[in-house]
Symmetry: C2
Subunit: 320 residues, 2 copies
Amino acid sequence: MTNAHMIWPDKVTICEVGLRDGLQNEKKILNIEEKLQLLDSVVESGIKIIEIGSFVHPKAILQMADTEEVARRMKRVNGVEYRALVPNLKGLEHAHASGITKAKLTVSVSKSHCINNFNLPPLEMMKGFIPCAEYADKNNMKLSGAMSSAWGCAFEGKIPIQQIEEIVQKYLELGITELSLSDATGMANPRQVFEVGKYFIKTFPQVNWILHLHDTRGMAIGNIVAGLQAGFNAFDGAFAGLGGCPYIPGASGNISTEDVVHLLHEMGIDTGVDLEKAMNTARIAEKMIGHQGHSSVLRGGRCEDLTKEKAQYQNNKQLR
Amino acid sequence: MTNAHMIWPDKVTICEVGLRDGLQNEKKILNIEEKLQLLDSVVESGIKIIEIGSFVHPKAILQMADTEEVARRMKRVNGVEYRALVPNLKGLEHAHASGITKAKLTVSVSKSHCINNFNLPPLEMMKGFIPCAEYADKNNMKLSGAMSSAWGCAFEGKIPIQQIEEIVQKYLELGITELSLSDATGMANPRQVFEVGKYFIKTFPQVNWILHLHDTRGMAIGNIVAGLQAGFNAFDGAFAGLGGCPYIPGASGNISTEDVVHLLHEMGIDTGVDLEKAMNTARIAEKMIGHQGHSSVLRGGRCEDLTKEKAQYQNNKQLR
């Protein structure tokens, strides 16, 4: 026995990012009707925070080219937050024009990664967020801040905490207090998630922290467990576990929403999500994109499905 | 932040059960040369406890029909424990005759499951283990005791701790102090693994506990994390994550050895296993059975593969 002490929250929040991070690497471009159907299905499952797309240049990511139309045409249900990713002020203006009230900015905490993608180091890039914060303030929009490569970078490996903390400070200076630590490459491990997560949650209690995990190397569910211990109570997920890197055939993508919901429910933790309906969203998404994602409960079934099947089997046996 | 306190061991033991639990449901029957090649590869990777097969009736599980021949022909490397599953005294005698010195008995802690499979409730079935314990004692063999359905049963759902504890007591009365808590249906969840695991490890400190996990519902890696906190320091795994139920297409099987090794190494926990070689075993196994298993690191790659690829990419870019 160890002296370890695990603590479980009563309730956590699930943020559905399938329409953005799940779909953006898919070859098959979904049409607007399909996206609206998926969005309705997500809302129907009880998820209250939904990332609907990304206001990038239409040529940059074809799958995201109709985000403005999604935003204009979607049903808006009270109590649901419809969040969109914006790369810069222009994106934010488009988001606002289409009725979006919550936007997510994103920067890589890795200098090499940030320079590679945006030709600017992180703090330089964040200077562009100043007019975004002003615009959001004037237009009554809320902002969220994402930090990619927070758990490891393909170029730099693990990123020192101090380097991440500089970005956190910068976001806070901009008045942004909802921050996500993102692991798009699936490099986070549970020990790190506990230690680093606990440090940030302790140091910045005013922040609403979101943990954004990918399951590329099979560590994501372990990271959820460690993340709960660190004190995270909001997790991004994508229906059907979509969002794998297009250059790694067969690799997993975002952690699957329905797997996280199933895990948490099995542990007696409330998510407010109807698992059956979340699984249905994932099935619809797989059908639309034309291939399977990476969802354990879609393939293996829920615990309760197993007990139901066995009961059925026993009943049939008795009837014979 | 929470008051949770996570503790990580310096070193854990990996037991490879791919040759038994991994292969036993595979349609393609491997020949003896293939099995010996797999076994050599497992030993080569540094794994010190290997379940080589099962001494059941040859007609019961065709894939296991040549376990005796495997045992007779395998190279025996000093310091490696070659364990075999035996259902009863007859199996134990066959194991002994072929030079096996460590055998694993198994019983389901679920009455319904045990009666369904063996027509006897658990404690009645364990009466048959008394002559096994006597035989092992006389013949200088070591015994291990497995408890299936320990984390949940398709017929009965969660099994009360007291019911499991009766089985533990019975094994201890037989002088068996290596015990595994098995989750063949993938129903264990991390909260349960921590609470129940901690109870047993605290109550029976004289036992060498082994945690046997399946990833059917995507919870296994979370259960490893919780298991480490409970104080487990030995885990079964199967190369390539083989061992899915033949009636659930696409469902995961045993937790993949190489995924566990990768996870632990990323967390700075020593396993004594060469991950590259363990991945090689998994690749060989997939080739032999003719389909992919369920291995995240085989598909998504290790963290270090990613950094290497990026370095290569950067180098190539500079050369252009």
